[in-house]
């Protein structure tokens, strides 16, 4: 009933292979975009942006980036935190070195720099696979964090080793620093999210994505049918790091405003993003969003309902939060090992047939 596909015919190949082939889906997507761009900015306040929406949007970009590498190209990476740190520090250096340049470009260039670093750390993937590659990327994680802690040039010799985002604006509207408006930072991140998702979607359904997936499914077979593993693996590393770098740059400049590399971009961040794509669904755009939403919003929701709603002590709530989120992760992965995206797909199939399942 919900999905009325009657009369939804495709007469061209182009129509048939579009991202949302079902009219209802497409419509829902446009409505979602319209609400996100035209309604939400007018109703949100600081709390919603800084505690809920911004972390969700930024982690969604990071999850998209990691999904390119791990979900589509099959290369396990534990270096996400380190690459986010590259994005953040690149953005900081650019912001302080070229204060007059639009922050948009800083974020994008920071992504580009991260792509180069990712390329470098992707080189071992040409020889090693699976768990061994995970360990090699783990080295990247520790090395990068150590580097940003060790070399004072990266944090402009500040006494504490902290980097703080100075005030920067886009067309006169402040998006970093303390005096920002909630809607401005939200829209700034949203634009990056929509653009990233759009780019990743189109990359993954084109020839580049097919090469990545061929490598993921069986690299020897892929090589035999003519996929160049060097190009495929390194491009996956570069594209993935680009988005992870953008996420890191936004995480530092727009969201937190001041970070300390060990605390903000430690190994736990790598795991967090990895869990997001595992729970959300490997190799799925929707999964990246679902995973980010689950890992970011669930703790906030639980905290608000347990402490704010029920008035429980904060420590009890914090402990319960760990248990409930952990339990839910187990539950979802047992019910659907391929993540929330697969769960959503099954639900959608059911809805298409509902209420006449036969």
């Amino acid at each position: 009933m919900l999905y009325r596909e009657a009369g939804d015919f495709k007469t061209s190949y182009r129509d048939d292979s579009q991202t949302f082939p079902i009219r209802f889906d497409r419509f829902a997507y446009y409505v979602l975009l319209a609400v996100a761009f035209l309604v939400v900015p007018f109703v949100i306040n600081d709390y919603w942006v800084n505690a809920v929406l911004m972390p969700f949007l930024i982690y969604a970009i990071a999850a998209l980036g990691l999904n390119v590498l791990t979900g589509y190209a099959g290369q396990v990476s534990l270096g996400t935190g380190g690459f986010m740190a590259v994005g953040a520090y690149a953005c900081y250096k650019l912001m302080t070195a070229f204060p007059d340049v639009n922050i948009f470009f800083h974020v994008i260039i920071a992504g580009g720099i991260t792509a180069l670093v990712g390329l470098l750390f992707g080189l071992p993937s040409l020889r090693i696979k699976g768990f061994y590659l995970a360990v090699a990327t783990l080295a990247a994680q520790f090395f990068l964090v150590w580097l940003f802690n060790r070399v004072p040039w990266f944090y402009n010799n500040s006494a504490s080793g902290q980097i703080s985002a100075p005030e920067r604006s886009v067309f006169g509207i402040k998006v970093t620093g303390p005096e920002t408006e909630a809607w401005a930072t939200y829209l700034f991140c949203l634009i990056f999210v929509v653009a990233s998702a759009w780019i990743v979607r189109n990359l993954t359904r084109g020839s580049t994505g097919r090469r990545w997936m061929a490598i993921r499914d069986m690299d020897i077979a892929a090589e035999i049918i003519g996929v160049n593993p060097l190009g495929a693996k390194l491009s996956a590393f570069a594209v993935s790091s680009f988005f992870v770098g953008i996420a890191g740059a936004l995480f530092f400049s727009v969201y937190l405003g001041a970070v300390e590399v060990g605390e903000a971009f430690g190994i736990q961040k790598s795991f967090l993003v990895l869990f997001m794509i595992i729970i959300g669904g490997l190799g799925s755009i929707f999964g990246s969003f679902a995973g980010a939403a689950f890992m970011v919003l669930m703790p906030v929701l639980l905290k608000n309902s347990l402490v704010g709603g029920l008035g429980w002590p904060t420590d009890l709530a914090a402990h319960l939060e760990f248990m409930i989120v952990g339990g839910l992760i187990l539950f979802f992965l047992i019910v659907e090992p391929h993540g929330l995206a697969a769960l959503w797909k099954v639900a959608k199939e059911k809805l298409r047939l509902w209420p006449f399942p036969h």
């Binding site: 306040n45 505690a51 006494a159 504490s160 001041a258 608000n304 420590d315």
Partner: protein, 427 residues
Amino acid sequence: MKMKLATLALGAAIAATPALAELTFTALSYRTGPYAANGIPFADGYEDYFTLLNERDGGIGGEKVELIECETGYNTEKGVECYESTKGQGALVYQPLSTGITYQLIPKATADGIPVHSMGYGRTSAKNGEVFNWIFNYPANYWDGASVAIKYLLEENGGSLEGKKIALVYHNSAYGKEPIRTLEELSAKHGYELMTLPVDHPGQEQKSQWLQIRREKPDYTLMWGWGVMNQVAIQEAVNIRYPMENFIGIWWSGSENDVLPAGEGADGYKALTFHNVGSDYPLFDDIQQYVVDAGMAAGAGDQIGTALYNRGLYAAMLAAEAAKTAQEMHDTAALAPAQMRDGMENLVMTEAKMADLGLPNFGPEFEVSCQNHGGEGYAAVAQWDANAESWSLITDYMQSDQDVLQPLIDEDSSAYAAEAGIEAGCM
């Protein structure tokens, strides 16, 4: 999407709770995570003092105190969430008990016009109130701590540290890096050799650092640690038989939790402090009567009189005194954050005032002004007695070397002012 909607609906319901006409204080505490052992006593002390004021005096100046607690887990992201969720509820002052979160809040709280009191932590140069109008760090800061430690060692060595080697074991974060500049300056002045040994979060692995200390044999070791790092460091020092009386921790490395695991071996360990130790004060009788016996003690109620409990209590006491000052200044019982700021800026702590509160000789006397948000920088040295399981002050309050510190503070705060585009001046 459904989940997101549920979150929205629920959060909206919570955000809609009206602000009450009370004095709202916030406790960004951490009772979970790797730093919980230290976060719990501080949070308990902070909460108990306000409970006492409510129960005994009916609040501050006739206004009840409402304390909103928010769990940060010493994590900056959760700290941001806590700040955003509590600032709308009329919070008067923030005391995040985390240098990382303090750095986060300095620009945010300044923009929102809410004072931050980072007591003995946070950004040291916030002492310059002309640049950091909304940030306070009285009665002492990290640089004071470093300077007092060196001053104490000077006294021990008859006024000269020439040729001595001093090691600094520090938490490799903004917090731990704070004293390095000062110690370097002081090393140039007093001629000791400084050796720095970073320990990464959370600090459970320190074998290599202590191996280095064992090899280099520094005459004295200073420590800037927090949480589990302290316990491990003291245990490692015991393991390499480092003389405990030559091992001095900053005030955040001087709680019972830090020394008890090392047992007998920790006997003689020293730590700085800017307030007194123990529970032998008239105020503690009131806490027993009005808070503990009434069954309203925070947490498990087993921390009363510990070093960090006293510090939480001291922080709450200073906040309450600032609120009283603000009430007198503005002739109103209900306060706004801006009025609270005025109260903090004009806070005067005297011995008579502390004795009146039932805390005679509990902390140093100091006076806050627009130019000086950091007090006079007095700190004392406490020593651990493993047999009695108690701390005792072994020196009087000593003032830090202002000749060295003031130029550093001016330099750092003017650098911040230039970076953030702040025009220095009083409000």
